[in-house]
Amino acid sequence: MVPLWYYLVLAAALFCIGAFGALARKNAVGVLMGVELMLNAVNINLVAFWRYTTAAQLTGQLFAVFVITVAAAEAAVGLALFIAIYRQRNTVNVEEFDTMKG
Amino acid sequence: MDYIRDFFINFAHSWTTWISGGLPGWAVTVVNFLLGGLILVMMPVIATLALTWMERKVIGRIQNRLGPNRVGPWGIFQAIADAVKMLIKEDIIPDRADRPVFNLAPILIFVGAAMLWAVIPFGRRMIGQDLNIGALYVVAIGSITTVAVLMAGWASNNKFALIGAFRVVAQLLSYEIPMVLSIGVVVLVVGSMRMGTIVESQWVPFCLVLPVAFITYVLAAIAETGRAPFDLLEADSEIVAGYFVEYSGLKFGWFYIAEYGNLMAVSAITTTLFLGGWRGPFAGAAPVLGPLYFIIKTVLVIFVLMWIRGTLPRFRIDQMLAFAWKVLVPAALVNLLWVAAALKLPVPQAVQYAVMLVGNLAILGVTLTLLGQSAKQHAKRHGLAGA
């Protein structure tokens, strides 16, 4: 079998790519995609640790399912917000969401 | 005689023995996997060749026409003539289309149609791969189709195509829920998601035990394949052809093949889940009969779907979504709850099945009564006669 750290490095790389996307993208939907990548990286870690340490109990998989649930909820609400904002301000550029600026 | 009794399995064994005479072990595996894959990939193509002819004949009869009758006896070579025509047509790509996405969409939609066949049991031990998550796999593969359709609709850079794609997504996502709920009922009763096990445990076809799940699944499956009366994603008379309006030649052919491949696949899945798959008289003693029963049942389901297509007018988009959310989902949910409760009863399985059947009939009755009432109210409000 492949050693555990292969998976961990893969997850770390994916997490960093996602973090870059979430922080550097100008478009709100792009930011959301970055967040999804980060959540997926977490899932890889959870499942990899499950497989390599406590394969008899399914805790890692269970947590991954909860992460997927939360990701789905987050995507639904996030995208609804973007559409609502787009209707009002005609943009989904995160730098222009500044009505609360003091 | 024994060889004939389980012909397909024995034939596969002899084939493996024959090629392992001249090949090393790993090559035998590779060759067998490739062959199996090839057979599965060919299924949508076979389905298209057979079903286009059948559909034209059936619809022709329903519409009081003859259907194809020029190319070959009873027009059976019509499909081949069409295939040749499709191959020699010019391949047009719209000027401002998103070319890579435009070209990828037909491939992806065909992949979705072909991959479904991997978990369909044609007979005892005749299954591409008896995954322990077979039933869920079927649903998951369906989501590839959604993505492919969205890609096609968007990449064509055509308003009709985009409207078609939007309709598809609304429809597929809405009807996926009753579909999953009705598959869930079957999985609950069987206690396994393996397609092979689902067939093995149907000593009585589930359509007789769970009619609500059966009807819900068939309706959702028609919607998932986008056939009339749920064909408003194509709706030739409203948005010309929906998401594949800009495709021509062989690329259009892929959509066509995927459509018929999906039609046959959902009929095969209906057969597997609700009609007892390859089970039938003497199928236990002579497994060679299994695939025969399977094909007969599948063609029967396809015939019913064609019948529905030829008889009913098209829904409006809001009616269609309302039907999914207000009729199918509640009925499927109540059914799931009832079946889960019935399975907990401390009585033999036959009694449990009887309890399920009673509950199902009650749900069916209530649903139909409510539907009839709302139809009457609708007719009264709009001053329509009848209902």
Binding site: F66, A72, I83, Y86 | -
Partner: protein, 162 residues
């Protein structure tokens, strides 16, 4: 064999992920995201989590990616090629992301993880189901409440006000 499959899926996942965050056209980047999800599903299969792999495709590709594509299409101007891709912090963020990756990679390769490879359970799906209604019943219910709340919230937010 496992190594080959792992590297195949890893390259697909990471390559597609880089395309997701750098492609100018957001719709294409959503399509790359779908490829990432498929790559991760492959990784899950390698880790003997078949159920999770199918759920990954079902939820991420079937629902989340479709939603994202929808949002991209509804907010059209995102496909305008003249729009800049990144904000002005992009370089700094790229630097920090690389740094974070190096640190994480060093840590995970240095630590001696208490690896104990057992056989994956054969009836994993049944066990998973039992766990969801047994020891994890409360989180499971909370997750379902969360989904309902999210659904209602999304409808209220995205609805057009008269």
């Amino acid at each position: 064999m496992q190594h080959v499959m792992f590297f195949l899926f890893a390259i697909i996942t990471l390559g597609a992920a880089i395309m997701v965050v750098t492609t100018r056209n957001l719709l294409r980047s959503a399509l790359w995201l779908i490829l990432v999800f498929f790559g991760i599903a492959g990784i899950f299969v390698l880790l003997n989590a078949e159920f999770l792999a199918v759920v990954q495709i079902l939820v991420y590709v079937g629902a989340i990616a479709t939603l994202i594509i929808f949002a991209v299409m509804l907010t059209r101007q995102v496909m305008d090629p003249k729009q800049p891709r990144f904000n002005d912090q992009a370089r700094v963020v790229a630097g920090f992301a690389t740094l974070l990756f190096v640190v994480l990679a060093v840590i995970v390769t240095r630590v001696a993880w208490p690896v104990a490879i057992g056989a994956a359970p054969v009836d994993a799906i049944q066990q998973l189901g039992m766990d969801f209604v047994g020891p994890y019943a409360v989180p499971f219910e909370v997750a379902s409440v969360l989904l309902v709340v999210a659904m209602i919230g999304a409808i209220i937010i995205a609805r057009e006000h008269e």
